[in-house]
């Protein structure tokens, strides 16, 4: 199963679930009765998709900010590498192999 199949299946499932909750709002004579208390049905359900989208965006942006904040700048690694490159060049000179 490809990742695309998984994502699309999940999306369809989520849509079905949401439709189950939202159908009474969309149709006058809904075949499926409202299963939630009226207040939830009228005030929460319509905005649920937007809430989900914004939450997702916040989550991803939060991860991005956190990742950049905690990013390790490894200056020591740079200096260590430079030193080792110089040493390697000396060893190559001993072996009579060029490096320029």
């Amino acid at each position: 199963m490809t990742r695309a199949t998984q994502t699309i299946s999940f999306a369809l499932l989520a849509c079905s679930g949401y439709l189950l909750l939202a159908l009474p709002l969309l149709m006058d004579e809904s075949p499926i009765p409202s299963i939630l208390p009226t207040k939830l049905q009228v005030e929460i359900v319509p905005v649920l998709p937007f809430w989900a989208l914004i939450s997702l965006a916040c989550y991803l942006l939060g991860r991005l900010g956190w990742g950049v904040l905690n990013f390790n700048d490894t200056e020591d690694a740079y200096h260590e590498l430079m030193g080792q490159i110089e040493q390697a060049k000396k060893d190559l000179d001993k072996r009579k192999v060029g490096w320029n």
Binding site: F71, D73, Y78, K89, L92
Partner: protein, 254 residues
């Protein structure tokens, strides 16, 4: 124990080169130092794509100095691309482990022993270097630092953004999907490379995505990545578009 070596394994490093006349000898010397210090059986397979700067002559000089049993030359007729270079090099591999790394010092050979230890402790199929995590992997005694030198804030944002997007879309289970410093069991890399179709840096992403999809056991090793030892690190709009296209392609195919 084979000939007094630390273990029974042989490690083959595949180095595709194009105009690496200056870097190649230094890298080979550094690899030699690491393998000798750790007492490991090794070979380096140099796949040169007809470099006009004489890289192949350098490679021949290295072969003379370090020995033809350690330096294997498999040159090609023209610039044919990274993916096919690995496939070409793989055919000459006599080791049971394959190491793939960049030839521009962004990947440091000193991490190879750490990857070897992780693989030995977990018997995983692949050990992949990660720049984005810091922790103590299974098989090692101390915490290892994952990080980069040479990236400004803009570059960090782009890289982290790219990685998070890939993680969200593909959920690959590795923290650094675009990394290309990896230790593979030979059978694992052959199996995965056969299924891989992409070109460019998407190739490395696809290798990992397919490996995970095939159910291979992948462990990570935090590494420090020194970007652009010589010159500026560039990441243009073109690369970003290519990346997004590659990512979507992977999401669809794998």
């Amino acid at each position: 124990m084979a000939k007094g070596k630390a273990n029974q394994n042989k490690y083959s490093v595949i180095l595709p080169t194009y105009n690496e006349r200056q870097n190649l000898p230094v890298l080979v010397q550094m690899l030699y130092d690491v393998f000798t210090k750790e007492n490991l059986e090794w070979e380096i397979i140099i796949v040169d794509d007809a470099s006009p700067d004489g890289t192949l002559d350098r490679a021949k000089a290295l072969q003379k100095s370090f020995g033809a049993d350690h330096i294997v030359l498999r040159p090609r007729e023209g610039k044919l691309g990274l993916g096919t270079a690995y496939v070409h090099g793989l055919q000459s591999v006599t080791g049971n482990f394959v190491i793939i790394m960049d030839a521009d010092f962004s990947h440091h050979p000193k991490f190879i022993p750490d990857m070897v230890k992780i693989q030995a402790a977990t018997n995983c199929d692949i050990v992949t270097g990660t720049r984005y995590r810091t922790y103590t992997p299974t098989g090692l005694d101390s915490k290892m630092l994952g990080g980069v030198y040479g990236w400004d804030v803009k570059r960090k944002l782009t890289s982290q953004g790219a990685n998070i997007l890939a993680d969200f879309l593909l959920a690959p289970g590795v923290s650094d999907l675009t990394g290309s410093f990896r230790l593979y069991k030979k059978e694992a890399v052959i199996k995965v490379i056969e299924a891989t179709e992409s070109k460019g840096f998407t190739f490395q992403m696809e290798l990992m995505a397919r490996a995970k999809a095939m159910g291979l056991h992948v462990e990570e090793c935090p590494i420090t990545f020194v970007d652009r030892v010589y010159g500026e690190s560039k990441l243009g709009g073109e690369e970003i578009v290519e990346y997004l296209k590659g990512l979507t392609g992977l999401w669809w195919k794998v």
